[in-house]
């Protein structure tokens, strides 16, 4: 009998530490292509999900290098949440290397959150590369607009509930709680941006149209000659002249773009070059979705005041 108790005790001692692991293993493994979608999935999924992002906030989400470490993340994923609109097409290469049938294109675990988004800057005529690295389906940077969060999170709820229908109510509850917090923040942001309506800004890469439209700001020019094409001296001269003529006070720079060049142009034009969070984690402190928008709105308000 003593021996049996000893064996049982030893078995419990071995199995005991594994129990929390088992509980973590019960979580839904979600991989998001960009940190914005990771942050929003965490808000919706709460403690039922474990989320990883393929891209980091400081990276250029257009051109991610496909490392096998991305494939490792995808190997265990139950769900892959992607931005769509050709921003994260590189994910296909990583998925192919991950050998995980749950998230191949067309599988229930593949969730494209651009569904129902009203896309801006959709080419209305034929496009080719003479226009630069144009997104043929329209501007894919919609997650920068907090007004798009209800649609994105609804798509996330639907995607998660497809995998775990028994948790749909919990996901929906989390979503509502998040949207309530976002509403409060939105009131604050709208108030801060109200006096700046109609102000013009120059952007380095044309990825800010959604947040600019949201708060009534106008994109007057881009530092890139065309999307993805580095500026020629003639183009920069034109932009500087335009900024002076139109008294534009700000150049928005992505964390991954050339801040030195933007600062030089801004100084020439008597303006400021300001780095905004192009994704969650793009700048210090922007470590949640609301914090990232907070940073961007405060930086816009400060620079344009």
């Amino acid at each position: 009998m003593r021996r049996a108790i000893l064996i049982l005790g030893a078995a419990l001692a071995v199995i005991g530490p594994m129990l929390p692991v088992a509980s973590a293993a019960d979580k839904i493994h979600v991989v998001a292509t960009i940190p914005d979608l990771k942050a929003l999935t965490e808000e919706v999924g709460g403690n039922l999900v474990e989320v990883e992002s393929l891209a980091r906030g400081t990276q250029n989400a257009h051109e991610l290098e496909i490392r096998p470490s991305l494939m490792l993340k995808l190997r265990r994923a139950d769900i892959l949440i992607e931005n769509g609109l050709t921003l994260d097409s590189w994910a296909d290469v990583a998925v192919q290397g991950a050998n995980n049938p749950k998230i191949v294109r067309g599988a229930p675990g593949r969730v494209d959150v651009s569904r129902d988004i009203q896309v801006l800057e959709v080419p209305s005529t034929g496009v080719d590369r003479s226009m630069g690295d144009v997104h043929p389906l329209g501007n894919p940077h919609y997650s920068l607009d907090p007004g798009m969060a209800p649609i994105i999170t609804q798509n996330i709820v639907d995607g998660l509930a497809r995998f775990a229908p028994e948790h749909r109510a919990a996901f929906e509850k989390n979503r509502q709680a998040f949207l309530a917090r976002l509403d409060e923040a939105m009131t604050r942001w709208t108030k801060a941006m109200e006096p700046l309506k109609g102000a013009k800004v120059v952007v380095y890469h044309p990825q800010w149209i959604y947040i600019l439209s949201r708060f009534g700001l106008n994109q007057a020019a881009t530092l890139e000659d065309r999307p993805g094409i580095p500026a020629s001296p003639a183009h920069l001269t034109h932009v500087i002249r335009q900024m002076k003529e139109e008294r534009i006070k700000m150049i928005i720079v992505e964390p991954w773009n050339d801040l030195k060049l933007a600062t030089r142009v801004a100084e020439e034009a008597g303006a400021k070059a300001v780095v905004l969070a192009s994704m969650v984690g793009g700048v210090k402190g922007a470590d949640s979705y609301i914090a990232a928008i907070d940073h961007n709105v405060n930086a816009l308000a400060q620079a344009l005041r």
């Binding site: 400081t58 051109e63 096998p68 050998n99 995980n100 969060a149 993805g228 580095p230 003529e245």
Partner: protein, 446 residues
């Protein structure tokens, strides 16, 4: 006792269907509740979409709709604008697969002697500029379970000859196999080592490293057959590959039959040292028979390191190296009586090897410079060669690249590089390359 048993049996017979019915009813109720929830969700979505203004949807009562843009100024009107429209719906006229064209033109200038001996990097094409590879790629999903890639290549294979068009790759990848496996069948560039599977226009240098050309031929290992990969569910990345092919590669194998197939294997792992440093290591094997039905095996080792400072769009430093070791059996003529006539054939083993190591520095997005050192024996002939190749690359955009290099090759023997009375024992070459991509091109792996 019998009565008790009888009563028990009767009770069981009566209650069992009732319990099953109750279970069915509970399951049905749950299903109905689930359907109700889904219906509610769809209804909410419909209502939200119907209520949406043409502008992006506001968060809630606190959010104001974006204001109308102010009237454009004369400068606004004069400025050329991309052909954008706002809020246009998507969907119509989409092609169900992607296509792209990659063009790769190369040129070289070298000594007259080398041209006569046809001993340059592009043998037979010395002192010429020519289309090495213009490739049409078609790729996409076949159905939810498989994807396909077809590549058709055209290029000048002979000096001043017609442009030859051939099928470079055509394969299907089965994506939904169980247990972390994936299979690919068709005509493929074999995943053997680092550089073999890379197409000419995507190589980090103008030419394939000497050791790859000497041991696998100018085209590399490009075979028809089946290969499968396995990625186990481990805390670190490791990919195991096994393949069976015809063995059509004339340089290394050439048996061309599944009765004595070419069997390939590869193990690849990856170490990420923080966000900035990454190292990929692998080893490969290809084993088959030569046209003379003698065994031939090539072992390969590969390594690739990248240092990309955080936030950079490109790596600052890249180091790449590969080594091949060939174990091959040959027929050797035996002249037993010394009369100059072959009396019999003897089998002899030849173990040969070679390697290369390259480093590249890319301090600016559009410019990179590097150096590659090659050392290689020949699988059949005696002797060895070594090359040093500094190069510089310039990308006007992501889709266009120019590259120039100087390559110095020293060979221990003139034999094999002495056609038409020339000599290519020492070769100095200026190489240049222009590559472009038109349309779709999949992202590059590490």
């Amino acid at each position: 006792m019998r009565v008790l048993v009888l009563v028990f049996v009767v009770l069981c017979a009566v209650l069992a269907p009732a319990a099953a019915t109750a279970q069915d009813a509970a399951a049905l109720r749950r299903e109905i509740e689930q359907l109700q929830k889904q219906l509610q969700s769809v209804t909410e979505r419909l209502q939200r979409l119907e209520a949406q203004p043409p502008a992006p949807a506001p968060v809630g009562p606190g959010a104001a709709a974006p204001p109308a843009a102010p009237a454009p100024s004369a400068i606004d009107l004069a400025r050329p604008r991309p052909p954008y429209s706002l809020y246009q719906q998507r969907g119509a006229g989409q092609l169900l697969f992607d296509m792209g064209i990659a063009g790769d033109f190369v040129g070289n200038i070298t000594q007259h002697n080398v041209e006569k001996a046809q001993g340059g990097t592009f043998a037979g094409q010395e002192n010429r500029f020519f289309p090495r590879e213009v490739e049409l790629s078609l790729f996409g999903q076949i159905d939810p379970y498989a994807s396909a890639v077809v590549r058709i290549e055209a290029g000048e294979e002979e000096r001043g000859g017609d442009i030859a068009v051939h099928l470079a790759e055509a394969y299907v990848t089965l994506l939904t196999l169980p247990f972390g496996t994936q299979a690919r069948f068709g005509l493929v560039r074999n995943r053997y080592g680092y550089s073999n599977e890379i197409h000419e226009h995507d190589l980090p240098w103008i030419d394939r490293p000497n050791v790859m050309r000497n041991f696998l031929g100018g085209e590399g290992l490009n075979e028809k057959g089946v290969e499968a990969t396995f990625v186990p569910d481990l805390p670190f990345y490791i990919e195991a590959l096994a393949g069976v092919f015809n063995g059509d590669n004339e340089t290394a194998f050439g048996r061309t039959s599944l009765r004595a197939p070419l069997v390939t294997g590869r193990l690849r792992t990856f170490l990420e040292l923080g966000n900035e440093h990454a190292l990929q290591l692998g080893m490969s094997v290809a084993s088959g028979q030569t046209a003379a039905r003698l065994p031939s095996t090539i072992l390969g080792w590969e390594g690739r390191y990248k240092y990309r400072p955080d936030g950079w769009l490109h790596p600052l430093v890249t180091l790449t190296g590969e080594a091949l070791y060939s174990l091959r059996q040959f027929n050797v003529d035996v002249d037993a009586d010394g009369d100059g006539v072959t009396d019999s054939l003897d089998k002899k083993h030849k173990n040969r090897w070679g390697w290369y190591l390259g480093g590249e520095v890319q301090p600016w997005r559009r410019w990179a410079g590097g150096l590659r050192f090659d050392w290689s024996q020949y699988p059949e002939n005696p002797g060895a060669e070594q090359s040093i190749e500094p190069y510089i690359s310039f990308w006007p955009s992501e889709f266009l690249r120019f590259r120039a290099a100087y390559k110095r090759t020293d060979r221990t023997h003139r034999d094999g590089f002495d056609l038409n009375g020339g000599s290519a024992r020492t070769v100095d070459e200026f190489l240049f390359q222009a590559s472009f991509i038109l349309g779709a091109h999949p992202a590059h792996p590490f």
